[in-house]
Amino acid sequence: MSTHVIPHHFDNAEQAYQSSKLGFWLFLVSEILLFGGLFVAYIVFRSLYPDMFHEASGELNRIMGGFNTIVLICSSFTMAMGVNRVQHNDPKKAVMFLAITIAFAAIFMVIKYFEYSHKIHLGLLPAGFYHYDGITHPRAPLFFSLYFVMTGLHGVHVLVGMGLITWVLLRVKRGDFSNQYYTPVELVGLYWHLVDLIWIYLFPLMYLIG
């Protein structure tokens, strides 16, 4: 059972829990604005060169992108289930769901790896290194700059998420959590859903405009 001690400067567990949650929502706000900058760049260039985006997006693999979307949605679902199981004192199932979530994240990264290596092979690289002659529009390299930066930053978040989920999984296994204290699991869950959320927008904006 839980051996969690409430930090001395809090009056009770509820206050500590609510504080952590508010803090984490604020953190997610800063994450949204971090990615927001990239979306602003995307919107600006898309409004300037709509045809280029149309043409360049055709080079992305819709099947891989779509499959990855499904993988992330499934992982979001298993994450929610994992948190739910921790809250209901069911660590065994919780560990299972968290492990599946990590597996989904890994699948996502593997597919991403194949996508990236294919693009790199073709020369569809960020603007300064771009050397592909299948697209006529002169600004097409910008699309791939945005593609790599946006999906790259998202990919980093996936990797960080995998680390965090592994961490809470180990703690669940050790029996750190119960229906009285599960804050870290819930917060990691929120983080993971945000990673999913960003991909939900990245997918149509990158893959589905060709």
């Binding site: 508010l22 979306f39 499904i70 949605i73 929610a80 289930m81």
Partner: protein, 258 residues
């Protein structure tokens, strides 16, 4: 610990199912060409999916009002960022071709330049020597004695700068004025083709030979448009350059960064 009493598993399953269905729908919709509406359809579906994730997976529905306000404010500020940036990007006038005008030497704050150049420096004298040899020596002589090869044909004879005598006056600004405008009624031409810098260089060079070099006076300063104390009239009344002398600036930059 607010909501762990409820079991959300069924909700999660439903949400998961709807999300999967919407993913399929958005892929199918994208492959049909609706024209410009395609983007709106894709964004609408994405927003529905995002809302489901936020409301049910992240439990923003039923969370504290403060947390709801906090999270949604992110999107509000993001909208400000997007809209005000777009107010620039989509409304920029087309770029007009830059008009490049060749401007001889330094212009613009001419008075300021004049005020600075009228004091002799060794560099100026050095520079003036080269210009003198090219432009003046034929008549005034290589030794500044008025005995250049062409001098024989002239009447009156070219000035011997070593004599200490100045026909119109030996003040720097007066000599400058003479170089610029020539001496009507004599063979001395107006060197308007030289830049102000070059003219000043010549002035300082030839004055370096003379035993009689009076200082500027109120009247001679006025000749070249300076105030009695030798400072420029006033910045605000100076001529403003209507167009950017691009090549002049490029020249300067190249000079400073060899």
């Amino acid at each position: 610990m607010s909501d762990h009493k409820h079991d959300h598993r069924k909700t999660y399953l439903n949400v998961w199912f709807i999300l999967m269905a919407l993913t399929v729908i958005t892929v199918v919709a994208a492959s049909i060409n609706f024209g410009k509406i395609n983007l709106f359809i894709a964004m609408a579906i994405a927003s529905v999916k995002a809302s489901l994730v936020i409301l049910y997976f992240m439990h923003l529905k039923g969370d504290a009002t403060l947390n709801q306000v906090v999270f949604l404010s992110a999107f509000g500020f993001l909208a400000v960022f997007v809209l005000l940036t777009l107010s620039d990007v989509i409304a920029r006038p087309p770029v007009a071709p830059v008009v490049v005008t060749k401007i001889q030497g330094i212009t613009g704050n001419q008075g300021v330049v004049m005020a600075r150049l009228r004091n002799s420096t060794p560099e100026q004298i050095q520079k003036g020597k080269a210009i003198y040899m090219a432009q003046c020596a034929t008549c005034h002589g290589e030794n500044a004695d008025g005995l250049g090869p062409a001098a024989v044909a002239f009447n009156p004879k070219p000035r011997d700068f070593k004599s200490g005598y100045w026909k119109l006056g030996g003040e720097p600004s007066r000599v400058y004025h003479t170089v610029e405008n020539g001496m009507p009624g004599t063979p001395m031409p107006a060197f308007k083709g030289l830049t102000p810098e070059d003219r000043w260089a010549v002035v300082h060079f030839i004055r370096s030979f003379s035993p009689n070099t009076p200082a500027d006076t109120r009247a001679t300063l006025a000749l070249i448009g300076l105030k009695p104390d030798g400072t420029p009239q006033s910045v605000s009344t100076e001529k403003v350059i209507p167009e950017l002398p691009v090549d002049f600036i490029i020249e300067q930059i190249v000079k400073e960064n060899p």
